[in-house]
């Protein structure tokens, strides 16, 4: 029996899509019945009251949550978000409803054993409600009280070998695409790099030392499935420098219809027979392909690696063998100065394809980390020079992208020791407002008006 009437929310129980209302009700019922006999550490009616509070929002069209205030675990500057209701008397079960961010594993693979442990903990010490997952990537445990925070952290670290994620003005929990674990397009091991950097920068993740938040994301290829270019201050996107690998026999099987185009993604409509000219060659943004006499030719020199042809014919075309990452910087959502897309700052940083030892090949994680430090040295140098620059010049609450705009891309490149190249811009400047450095101009800037006036009367 529900504690509160929720006529508006009840309307969200119908329809085919999984109903969050039904799910919260399910958890409310579990808590009310408590068949497992859990000694709930926060109110058993947490879910019931949450439904009541939400119903009120649906009725009066506004939120009933307040600013969090500062709560957290000792020594960490992030990972916990405080949250209080502005209707504590009416809905005491969710009067305090803090969030715990738990660092998610690479590509969000799980064992049920792990998830069950975590859920048991959360039913015991929290509301039992979660986000799988938060926008940045963390597992989000929704709804607990202040006294439970250190307890949860203790259990996580001592019993589950599991840390919190980031929040506040620090490195946020890095996130990766599925990468080489199950994707043939991935140009590098996103899980490895994501994990390595997450471990390398634990201090930056837990202890705010930055002007504002900072995000890493790792996309294995330019398809960009984790949207790193739109969402991360530093975006690492796999790419290659040599030729697309072509299997002409498989090309022929696309042309004759044996292989389904785009890995079968268009099966829901009859688009007619596959037309390699119209669907691949003519859609190439650089016009670098031709299909002649049953053979697909690619002029790789002009290719910009957009992935379209590979996506359309994954059995026939494969990414190149000389692989690495493009690094883009500065992406962010609109607040404050408007949204930014990542700007290409390091066009290509090759990743040594021979350095492919795995954790299992080492005696300890420490040794493996050392190995990775060497493997990714050029990359961490870029990261650290970016941070040095931003921490030196960034204003309070100024995202990296905003600093880049404020001081200019050339300044940024100078600071990270990258030579400006034409690929850094979509096009060169249209305004000829060119700043010169004094030492670039013969004779310098110091001139004498009297000398000038000798040759130019007033």
């Amino acid at each position: 029996m529900a504690k509160h009437e929720t006529p508006l929310l009840d309307e969200l129980e119908s329809g085919p899509w999984p109903s969050f209302v039904s799910d919260i009700k399910q958890e409310a019922e579990v808590r009310a019945k408590n068949e497992k006999g859990i000694d709930f550490q926060i109110p058993a009616e947490a879910c019931d009251d949450l439904l009541g509070l939400l119903e009120l929002s649906y009725k009066d069209g506004t939120t009933h949550w307040k600013h969090g205030g500062i709560v957290g675990v000792f020594g960490y500057g992030g990972g916990i978000i405080g949250r209080y209701s502005d209707k504590p008397a009416e809905f005491p079960g969710c009067a305090s409803f803090h969030t715990v961010r738990v660092a998610q594993p690479g590509a969000k693979y799980y064992t049920t054993k792990y998830l069950r442990e975590l859920m048991d903990l959360w039913q015991f010490r929290g509301s039992g409600l979660t986000n799988m997952h938060g926008s940045t990537g963390d597992i989000v445990l929704l709804g607990t009280t202040t006294p439970q925070l250190e307890e949860i952290f203790y259990t996580l670290t001592h019993e589950m070998d599991q840390d919190l994620g980031g929040s506040g003005s620090n490195l946020r929990t890095p996130a990766d695409c599925i990468g080489q674990s199950r994707c043939e397009y991935a140009c590098y091991d996103t899980q490895e790099l994501c994990y390595f950097l997450t471990m390398m920068y634990q201090d930056e993740l837990h202890r705010p030392a930055f002007p504002y938040k900072f995000k890493f994301k790792f996309d294995g290829c330019p398809n960009g499935c984790v949207a790193s270019m739109a969402r991360s201050d530093l975006s690492f996107i796999g790419t290659w420098k040599d030729q697309i690998q072509v299997d002409q026999a498989e090309v022929a099987k696309y042309v004759d219809g044996t292989n389904p185009a785009n890995a079968g993604s268009h099966k829901g409509r009859d688009w007619g027979a596959f037309d390699i000219q119209a669907e691949v060659v003519d859609l190439c943004p650089t016009d670098c392909m031709a299909y002649e006499n049953g053979e697909l030719k690619i002029y790789d020199k002009e290719c910009t690696r957009c992935m379209h042809c590979i996506n359309v014919m994954p059995k026939a075309l494969k990414v190149g063998k000389q692989r690495g990452v493009s690094i883009l910087a500065g992406a962010k959502a609109p607040i404050v100065d408007g949204a930014q897309m990542g700007t290409l700052v390091v066009p290509f940083l090759e990743i040594d394809q021979t350095m492919n030892k795995q954790l299992a090949d080492f005696d300890s994680e420490e040794e493996w980390m050392e190995y990775l430090e060497e493997k990714y040295e050029a990359l961490t140098e870029v990261i650290e020079s970016v941070w040095d620059y931003w921490m030196e010049e960034g204003k309070n609450r100024e995202r990296l992208g905003e600093l880049m705009i404020r001081q200019g891309l050339q300044k940024f490149l100078e600071k990270i020791n990258v030579e400006p190249q034409a690929v850094h811009v979509d096009h060169p400047r249209t305004n000829p407002y060119i700043f010169w450095k004094e030492d670039e101009v013969e004779g310098g800037w110091d001139r004498d008006i009297n000398e000038y006036r000798k040759h130019h009367a007033r």
Binding site: E11, S19, F20, K108, D161, C183, C306, A333, V336
Partner: protein, 382 residues
């Protein structure tokens, strides 16, 4: 309820404290077939909506069944997911970036059993617990934020708008009839915890009233300089205010006509709330993408300046979304993303065919760069 200690001793917080251990290592969580073939995948195919097979160079196969999920999930629900994975998938599973659940098996037979199991699980209200779909040229799950369920700045609810929308476009979650994939995202205010600014279709909560000023408390709970600095349009300045009591306090003044209700000030200062039943609602954006495929990534554009919060199912919003999707399905070419379609036909044609009003709100007027979005050619369509 009695407090039960985890073992933590508040008197000695540093004793035996474990920190900076990071997430679990991914290796422990990979299914066997994944671990074995990592980096050696040859190609993949979507067998039917929601079902993929990936084939390794050595011929190994992994079958994946993708299911939609509300990102808000109860522990009980996650435990049910675990039951399924234990039964069919050797106790392994994963989540996708778009909050889908993926169950993997290494044989077609197991996959069929899995599908049948998933399809019959429903909530008492009738909704599927694990709808299969979200692949290829269809609509995947909506990434979203907290909304009224857990956030202090939203202008709308997140879970509710998403549920209403996914119910409406459900057939496209389970089909692949569109010209290309279509990604919908939802953020409940301008802060965009979920960055929706590069989505094919974005649902965005939006306030339309400047903050109310709680002068009596403002200086006590806020730092005035931070509130002033938080404003992107310089609409806030420090002010001395006389209270009804006759006391004069330090506070702020807001030039309402320069405010665009982003709530950044409220984030810095709880004495400046701005939510309002009539003021708050939905902005729709469209045409963004993050993939580099064919065209460069691009931002979404505002296509509907405001729709009210019609709880619980936001019909005006879902109608507008539906209409956009239907016109896209009709008008776009194979492989053409939503924004590539609008760019090709021209935005004036987009507003025509989608029967959306173009109003002054849709013209960019934010800073100098706004000018670059204005029409600077004689080329236009009548």
């Amino acid at each position: 309820m009695a407090f039960i200690s985890s073992g933590y001793d508040p008197e000695k917080p540093m004793e035996g404290r474990i920190t900076d251990i990071g997430p679990k290592h991914y290796d422990q969580f990979y299914p066997e077939v994944i671990k074995k073939n990592k980096g050696k995948w040859s190609h993949h195919e979507i067998l039917e909506p929601g079902v993929l097979v990936h084939v390794a160079e050595n011929g190994d196969e992994v079958f994946t069944v993708r299911c939609g999920g509300a990102r808000l999930m109860s522990s009980t629900h996650v435990q049910e997911i675990c039951d399924i994975a234990d039964k069919h998938c050797d106790g392994k599973l994963r989540f996708t970036t778009r909050n889908n659940i993926e169950f993997m098996t290494d044989s077609k037979d197991k996959m069929e059993a899995l599908k049948a199991d998933l399809a019959q699980r429903k909530f008492p209200g009738g909704s599927y617990k694990f709808p299969i779909g979200g692949t290829g040229a269809g609509i995947s799950n909506i990434v979203h934020t907290q909304g009224w369920i857990h956030c202090h700045t939203p202008a709308t609810d997140a879970s509710g708008t998403v549920k209403a929308t996914m119910d409406e476009v459900f057939s496209d979650f389970q089909d692949m009839r569109l010209p290309a994939k279509l990604k919908i995202s939802m953020a409940c205010c301008l802060n965009m915890c979920g960055a929706v600014h590069c989505s094919d279709i974005a649902i965005l909560g939006y306030h339309r009233k400047p903050p109310i000023l709680d002068h009596e408390y403002l200086d006590k709970v806020c730092e005035v300089p931070l509130a002033v600095a938080s404003c992107p349009t310089a609409a806030i300045k420090p002010a001395k205010v006389e209270l009804p009591s006759g006391d004069t306090v330090s506070s702020v003044a807001v030039r309402n006509e320069r405010c665009m209700y982003c709530g950044n000030c409220y984030t810095m200062c709880p004495s400046m709330p701005l939510s309002d039943k009539e003021g708050d609602g939905i902005v729709l954006m469209a045409g963004g993408k993050v993939s580099n495929r064919i065209s460069a990534p691009k931002f979404s554009k505002v296509v509907v300046a405001f729709l009210p919060n019609e709880t619980p199912r936001w019909p005006s919003m879902t109608n507008a979304i539906n209409k956009m999707i239907e016109e896209y399905a009709k008008g776009a070419r194979k492989y053409e993303r939503f924004g590539d379609w609008t760019d090709r036909i021209g935005w004036e044609r987009f507003f025509d065919v989608c029967e959306l009003d173009f109003t002054h709100h849709l013209i960019d007027d934010f800073r100098d760069a706004a000018y670059q979005s204005w029409r600077q050619t004689t080329q236009f369509k009548f």
